[in-house]
Amino acid sequence: MTLSHSATSTVSEAGPRARSASGPAGGPTPGRAPRRRRSTGFERAMRVVWTLALLALVGYPIAQVFGQSIVAEDGGITLSNYALLGTEPQLLAAIRNSLWIACGTVLGSLLIGLPLAWFTVRTDMPMRRFFRGSAVLTFAAPSFIAALGWVLLLGPRNGVLNTTLMSIFGLEESPFNIFTAWGIIFVLSLFLYPLVFLPVSAALEGIDPALEHAAASLGASRWRVLRTVTFPVIAPALIAGAILVFVSSAIIFGPVAILGAPTGFQTIPTVLLSLMQFPPRIEVAAVISVPILVIIAALLLIQRKLVGGRRFTVIGGKPGRQDVTHLGAGRYLAVAFCTAVVGLSLVLPFGMLLVTSFRKALGRPLGWDNFTLTGNYEEVFGRPLIAAAMGNSFALAIGGTLLALLVALLASWLVHRTKARSNALIVGAMAAPLAFPGAVLGIGLIIAYAAQPFGLGGTLTILLIAYAGSALPLTFAYVHAGMGQIGAEVEEASRGLGASWARTWRRITVPLLRPSLLAAGLLNFVLLFRELEMSVFLYTGANPTVATVLYNLASESLYQRVGALSVVILLINIVVTVIAMRLLDRRPGESARRSRRSPSVVLDTPPEEAA
């Protein structure tokens, strides 16, 4: 202790001195004025470039959706198209179904996500880190592939779990049918619960334990503390997560299309797809898209408000340590629950696909005579269509990621390094695509670019635009946060030493941003590589991607091949995700937070090092 005190005082003495010493060397004032003047022209050019890029990627297509919805048959402007909403029974049914799926999934996600968050953050349950990690992994797993796995497990005729249960209990009928609304809710909940789990566990972790202690010391029982303090304090995170689940499940395409198809169960995105197929009824699709965009935008705005709400921010002192509830024998129940979640969301569906990829025939039972190690994989890779799809998906994922990174870099540079009132607009605009369901963006792109004068229908270019546009929010979030941590001073120091703008970016800014760029890039790659939502809308038969191929294989019920291709996609996903998680773990923000918890660690640095 003694040593650290003297070290502390030395460090704090050295601090200001070191700073004032770097002052004259770091920022010579004469260089400043001309730089400002020169950069305004450059700045303006950059602003124009950014605006054009954003308009091309998302602005113009979305505007086209709005435009199309008010174009009358004779080319005039009319609102009468909206009357279709009341007269088309299939539209109404789809909206009802979407709402029903969304509400059910919110409930399911809460039932899974809340206990899981509490167990992993606030109890002494074993393997907490493992379960936490798997929740994050679930987030990166493709839900439509999981839905394929569940078809194989709980399909009413051949589902492996169903037949097993039938033979064990001697049932006449299969006990479960995944091709129902309940089945869809079940699969979606297992995949969207991280949207609740992640913010809620972060909130539980971030709560000042003194808030709960204050209540306990005033005589509140443990249950009363949970009810009157803990729960209200995490409520904004919970509601925010629930809104995300609601929005995501109402507009998700993949699992709903796969599980709803056999019974003709349609939700908004699937009905949109059928409207776009021959003969296309684009104006109807546009008419239904517009209110959805408005509602989603409103919900996401509410979500933002909740997350950033001042009323719920807590004035921090020294953050203390969280109380850990000792579960006693209940630990085993908790572990069983968490294991079930991991089993149902990851192990069973993907394991089933893996097993299926080694089966010769679906109809026959599992066994060695029904085993083929490479047969299905050869089948899959032997087809030129799939090889082309692989190439396309790789190229599109990489291209879309890079394009999004470029736009995001440009945007965050504008936000952080220039002072214009419109900068707040940039932040909003970069997050806006979050509110565009893949289906709607896809429709917008078709209206905007498929026909003349662009004539991009079915090309790789239109897919690239789609991928880059949808990747913008996530990419920007990372780059923006990374840039925020760098601070203009490090760039100015380099400029002050005579380095040009370009050299400063190459030698200082980009290397410092590398962790953010890599993380954003890898995550985007994962998401884009298996992109289905927009791809099915833009696919015309000419340029397949792995997801569209997989979707078509599933609709033809070629499940051994579905298994093999899924396994390949998952492997690629897993490898990239693991790399991304490694990189994310070393985020600068992480270490800063850790050091706040134990200040002595930082202060114990030897003074020589600090100086």
Partner: protein, 394 residues
Amino acid sequence: MTHLVLSRLTKSFGAAPVVDGVDLSIQEGEAVVLLGPSGCGKTTCLRMIAGFERPDSGEIRLRDQVLVGGRTFVPPERRRMSVVFQSYALWPHLSVRENVGYGPTTAKVGRTEVRRRTDEALAMVQLDGLADRYAHQLSGGQQQRVALARALVNDPALLLLDEPLSNLDTRLREEMRSEIKRIHRSLGVTMVYVTHDQAEALSLADRLVVMHSGRIVQVGAPEDVYRHPRTSFVARALGATNLLPATACGPSSPEGVPLRLPGGITVTAPRPADVAVQAGDVVAVSIRPVDLRLSSGSPGAAGAARVSEALFFGDHVQYAVDLPGLAEPLKTTGPSLGRFDVGQDVVVQVDGTAVAIVSDGPGSPVLGQDDHHPGSSATAGAPLPPAPAGRSAA
């Protein structure tokens, strides 16, 4: 009447003991302040009293009830102790009134009674007008007052405060300090107050407990601890001081110990409570800068010294003076009228009652005879408490 008793309280996190055999009894209505450098285990002590932490061993008793000991562990919600936290810990989703009313509501005393008590507590901290605001709509000082009202509303058996003022700026801190003192006096509530700010500790305490690495090193009335620190650690913990070597130049008597300080100054210091000093012993003494007087004089006299630094502060001047035989300059202060200049010859005088003989920890009560460098030996073994201002800013 003895109110709260801690006996042989011990707590470790991992291998290192954080609280190491603490014994303390607190009288009813008393204000006890725990003072010590960061990490010495003050908060851990408080948390064990409140019930947020379970001691490894030892006993805590409140009146005649055992709170902790053997198999007994009374959970926090049944201890009737209110805690005021450094972070205030106001619930962000509740208004001021709801925050303060939480205790009575929990106790299910009926709606009118809740309202009466809440209003009373808010009036006590002079926040009557702000009852419907939320925490984020209050200033730091107001939040602190709400936290205080919330803790007082239940008429707690014990009020525990953990560095409640460290998030406030200096002016507010002084204001809240006297506010807490006033409330303590008017309510007569028993209070345990944790801080590492010596001004807070000295002004609020009926009894001051100085802690160091999980142990209590000295307990007593604030004046007594300030005047008669037993170790150099305690002397430094309570403010700026000069630690210098002195030689006993005669046998100790009831009047005190005759000492010869560097520079030939002779004084009779009060006898230390726990060590015997023989003639010829070299001891360490602590003298506060304000207790050293400077007057003009010429070299050669007893206590002759030279001013090496003079910092003007408006109402007083801080000096560093070089005394022959001392490696480090003496710190002292003087009035700003008739100040001395750097390089001027002065004479240092000190009153015997201001000299405290300190020992540096058990085992080496007195510095060895024939010691090495007289100048540095007095300070060598003493751990430095942190500068209080620097800590709270960090």
